[in-house]
């Protein structure tokens, strides 16, 4: 694998994760538990698509094959998408949505803070811009994790159920492969080992405050680094890509 191929792959991993997570959050639009929260979640979705858009633009430039950001988002299949498994999990109830977002925000918070130091100037600039938004996202979701975990008996049960359900998808966020090895050597990528303990201690702090417990001996699912997904992704893409695929000659 060349450095260029690794960088292209790395960008897709980041952009796909942001886009798929945004797509999931956007499903809540108009259906949130109350208006202010509906707006907060939609806003989060908008920030994530913005991030995805910038990174796809850069990926297209790195690839150098005259594809643009929309080609990358709308004309790749489920065996080419590199988003994390956690991002594509179904919304479930509000507890599951908030917890999924909290784990991703915590990851992004430490990840983008490191990516700012990347020797790749474009990635560094994108990270710099994203970190402001992510700081706000994390504040929002961590306060909701705590509120719902330590709210009523019902909300507590729902949060614990959500944690039991999605904890198994958190492990692979830190998985590294040849792409990382090549790019870490160049000073471009973030060494995910360096942020794992920060992610764990932040997660543990908030989950403790929310009075919910990490399931013991959970098996960690994996696969997204090889574009092996859960069954959810195919449906997300079928919906998202339907129009550009039906009318491939059209411009939007």
């Amino acid at each position: 694998m060349t450095k260029q191929e690794a960088l292209f792959n790395y960008c897709l991993r980041l952009a796909d994760t942001s886009l798929i997570l945004a797509q999931r959050n956007a499903e809540w639009c108009g259906h949130g538990p109350f208006l202010e929260e509906d707006l907060a979640l939609t806003n989060l979705s908008l920030d994530l698509i913005g991030q995805a858009n910038s990174i796809y633009q850069y990926a297209a430039q790195v690839e150098g094959k005259a594809r643009n950001e929309d080609d990358l988002a709308y004309h790749r299949s489920e065996r080419e998408f590199l988003n994390t498994l956690i991002a594509e999990q179904s919304n479930g109830d509000y507890a599951k949505t908030i917890l999924r977002q909290f784990f991703c925000d915590t990851f992004d918070f430490y990840f983008y803070a490191e990516l700012v130091k990347s020797k790749d100037e474009t990635l560094s600039a994108i990270a710099e811009k994203s970190i402001k938004e992510i700081t706000y996202h994390l504040r929002h979701t961590s306060s909701w994790v705590e509120r719902l975990g330590d709210g009523t008996e019902e909300s507590h049960t729902r949060m614990q159920d959500a944690l039991n359900e999605i904890w198994r998808f958190t492990g692979e966020m830190f998985e590294m492969n040849e792409v990382d090895t090549i790019l870490i050597k160049e000073g471009i990528a973030v060494d995910l080992n360096s942020i794992k303990s920060k992610w764990e201690s932040k997660s543990k702090e908030i989950l403790d405050r929310a009075t919910i417990k990490i399931p013991a001996n959970a098996f960690m699912q994996r696969g997204s680094r090889e574009a092996k997904h859960t069954e959810h992704l195919g449906f997300i893409l079928a919906e998202m890509q339907s129009l550009p695929r039906a009318l491939p000659d059209a411009k939007w």
Partner: protein, 309 residues
């Protein structure tokens, strides 16, 4: 006191929440402002229906931002309505039980991407006609909410027209999609201005109290005059055989919309009435445990803080 209210209206001064106002004026405003707020919130649904399928990343971002603006408008308007001594909970209750109305246009489905263009171009275009007038409405908080809302709405109208322009200039399928959306949304949009002046039961008081400053028919005429050239410019046809320029009145003559359909939709028989209200009720019910948890958590914090003192 009554004389003071009349005098303020006569001087074109705003009525503010602390001023005395006749009960019937207050009731009229609660009805109108809450109906407007509910329309913004219900209006998020037909457009939200296309967020996950918007055909480009840019289109997706623009649409999300737009739907978010609508939600924001709902928030200011609920706040304006609350200043008339009614709670948000009561307002939502009125919506969910069907006591309060919302704009009928949102009971029509968004079947294709072109409908997102048509809603921005036509529906927001029609809403602006009303809202520009309402910036000068007599109730202060409503007028001020409207100033803010108008700025964003005219932006939405341009974005909707831009989507329609792109489709009209696109492939055969895209152009057909744009014409089809215009055909379906034209008549319901004309109905948005309300029944003809002769048959409008709420209009007379609204004009007397300077809540409304122009009649339904005047606004409808202005909308047609503005929109016909926009359609012609991009090669789309207004679906009205009787549409014709009338030099004497310096405006277009056009057919009456089907008021039977209008009444049907108002009375719950539009294509999506059940779905729209059903979605709102379901969101409210599904969100109950979240709202209760937030209250319980805040209460626990308060008790803890008190224990430390």
């Amino acid at each position: 006191m009554d004389a003071n209210f009349e005098a303020k209206l006569a001087r074109n001064e705003n009525i503010e929440p602390k001023d005395w106002m006749p009960d019937i004026y207050r009731k009229h405003l609660i009805r109108q402002v809450s109906q407007h707020a509910h329309s913004e919130i219900i209006g998020m649904l037909p457009e939200g229906n296309w967020i996950t399928r918007a055909p480009s990343l840019r289109a997706k971002m623009v649409l999300i931002a737009k739907v978010q603006d609508e939600g924001g408008h709902g928030l200011y308007l609920y706040t304006a309505a609350e200043s008339l001594n009614i709670s948000r909970e009561e307002l939502l209750e009125q919506l969910h039980t069907g006591k309060a109305k919302y704009s009928s246009i949102f009971n029509y489905p968004t079947l294709t991407w072109a409908d997102i263009g048509a809603i921005g171009w036509l529906v927001d275009g029609a809403a602006i006609m009303n809202q520009v007038m309402l910036q000068r409405t007599s109730y202060g908080p409503y007028a001020r909410a409207m100033v803010r809302i108008c700025k964003e709405e005219s932006f939405h109208q341009r974005q909707g027209y831009e989507i329609t322009c792109k489709l009209a200039a696109g492939t055969k399928e895209q152009k057909e999609m744009a014409q089809d959306a215009l055909n379906r949304f034209w008549w319901p949009t004309l109905m948005m201005f309300g029944p003809p002046d002769a048959a409008s039961s709420n209009s007379e008081n609204a004009i007397k109290w300077k809540i409304k400053r122009e009649s339904n028919d005047q606004l409808r005429q202005r909308f047609v005059n503005q929109t016909v050239p926009q359609a012609e410019l991009i090669g789309l046809t207004i679906p009205d055989k009787n549409l014709e320029w009338n030099e004497a009145k310096k405006g277009y003559d056009f057919s009456d919309p089907d008021w039977k359909e209008f009444n049907n939709v108002i009375h719950g028989n539009g294509p999506c009435n059940r779905e729209r209200l059903g979605a709102r009720v379901k969101a409210h019910e599904n969100g109950r445990w979240v709202r209760e948890a937030a209250i319980a958590y805040a209460e626990k914090r308060k008790q803890k803080a008190a224990a430390y003192q």
